[in-house]
């Protein structure tokens, strides 16, 4: 439904997520769209943005066209400020040095819980997915931004399996489980940008993307949507944002 635009859904997703970051932040990023978005923000508005990788990297500088195939490849360390052990970089989350955890998601629910482990019953799974990696640690210990493609099967009332915790069952349930810090801040999709309501901790739409109606959004979502009192409309990607993004991922490895 975005064909009428001069950008792909993935490009929109990347650009909108990049706008969620601010200069000086320390961002723990996954590869793919999170890394692209963080690098875009770094080059556009946030020269002082620091990117951390799970493989053990602080202050990565990604070279256009040389995106790493994973967060554990040597490309992630090129001209970094520091290389350290994987446990050490993950412990930075626990100590509290990380401002934003930035991940993609396969399946999310109304409370921002993410599933990357099982489709169907974990005991007899329809699909065994790769699992958490550092996702559970990031979501447990830092404030989170999640960027994902908006599909009904990906936006469900309850995830089949809570791999990376959002607000669990809403309200105080996250804190009561022992997760005292962090939590879902934003979910960015190609259709809208979501926040979480302060009381129930349930997902709510804070702005619709260009050309997306409430109805279209609801039709593509597996649970009844709440809309923020002052619903905004997302600014479309600027030419500058699009040009820079296309420089970073010329082969459209992640932005096709």
């Amino acid at each position: 439904m975005l064909k009428k635009h001069n950008y792909s859904a993935a490009e929109l997703l990347t650009i909108l997520s990049a706008r969620q970051l601010s200069d000086g932040q320390v961002v723990f990023a996954g590869v793919g769209i999170p890394l692209l978005a963080a690098t875009l923000a770094q080059r556009l508005r946030c020269p002082g943005l620091t990117i951390l990788f799970e493989g053990g990297v602080i202050g990565a500088f990604i070279e256009p066209g040389k995106l790493p195939p994973s967060t554990n490849d040597q490309r992630c360390t090129k001209r970094a400020n520091m290389v350290l052990g994987s446990a050490e970089v993950l412990l930075l989350l626990q100590r509290g040095y990380v401002d934003v955890g930035f991940m993609g998601g396969a399946q999310v629910d109304q409370y921002g819980n993410l599933n990357s482990s099982f489709i169907g019953d974990p005991a007899r799974p329809k699909t065994r997915l790769p699992g958490t990696g550092g996702g559970n640690d990031i979501a447990s210990l830092a404030q989170m931004i999640v960027a994902m493609k908006h599909e009904k099967r990906r936006f469900v009332e309850h995830v089949d399996f809570i791999t990376s915790p959002g607000y669990l069952h809403g309200g105080e349930t996250r804190r009561d489980s022992g997760l005292l810090a962090g939590g879902m801040f934003r979910v960015v999709t190609d259709l809208a940008v979501f926040g979480f309501e302060a009381e129930k901790r349930r997902m709510q739409v804070i702005s619709l993307n260009p050309g997306v109606s409430r109805e279209v959004l609801q039709d593509n979502t597996g649970f009844a949507l709440d809309f923020a009192p002052h619903l905004g409309v997302t600014e479309p990607p600027t030419d500058q944002e699009l040009e820079l993004l296309r420089e970073l991922d010329p082969e459209q490895l992640y932005t096709a």
Binding site: S70, V83, G85, S86, L90, Q94
Partner: protein, 330 residues
Amino acid sequence: MAMAKGNDKSRAGTPQSYLELREDLLRRDRSLRDKVVSLEEATSFVRDGDSVGIGGSTMSRTPMGMVWALVRAGRKHLTCSRSIVSSDGDLLFASGICDHIVTSWFSQGILWGVSKVMRHHVETGKARFDEWSHMAMGMRFRAGAMGVPFMPIRSMLGSDVRKQRPEAKEIDCPFTGEKLLLVPALNPDVALIHVQRCDAYGNAQIDGLQFMDIDLAMAANKVILTTERIVSNDQIRRAPDQTKIPFFAVDAVVELPFGCAPHECYGVYEPMLRHMEYYVGLVNADPVKGMRDYMDRFVYGPKSWSEFLALIGIEELLEAARAGESIYDA
């Protein structure tokens, strides 16, 4: 029978008793001695049923040559643990030498979606994949390296990942009253680690990303090193703060150039992506026949590791090496 107890426990995810751990270590010959063996000889350090810790992460510094040799040696019922598992896990499962993998993430790589080989073995119940968070894996190796039964962490709480891991225990902190998760020490019977260089005694120097290899080496009850180059002890002693694993934690040393192929070795070569693409295409199209064809041609076929490298192709090796060294061109 302490070793047997040992691997039963590390397979079950319960920490060994301290006395058992100390006795296992006491039995090892930790003296300063030449430990160089051939790749084939090194396989004898791994016994059927062992709990095996694997160094590196995803496609980086994976001891692929050692895994390849263990498949050829036909080990049985291994339980393998690693921070993040890539195509090494496909080989371990499909070859039948391993029926249990403990890790935080298991697929060939982010570029290629979900491993059909992992799915085939796990979804049909042929093999077991225990999932821990990445930090939890690190803290399990660290507790093992420190000689304590557990480490306290603040992640996994509240998630279904934790619900599937009764091996971990929740406590209320005796100091703060806060909920904490205690993850049990993981002391593998044997660790497989690939490094850029070490001496004949096993003093190992690792460049760049270390992943969890130092904790893994100190935690394991035996360590097999494969290395791009064996260097003199004098070279090691000229840069002692580059040494990351001390010789007395090492039991065998194998010189194995391109020992991570088709994966990467930091600063030496990047992953051989053409071979990986070919591999993934083959096995994700048909996880059974595809793997059999791959193993027949690339694992059982070659007479030696060099023959395997030749099958990858000298051009791809050179390209990977050029890219690998470029990391220092900063």
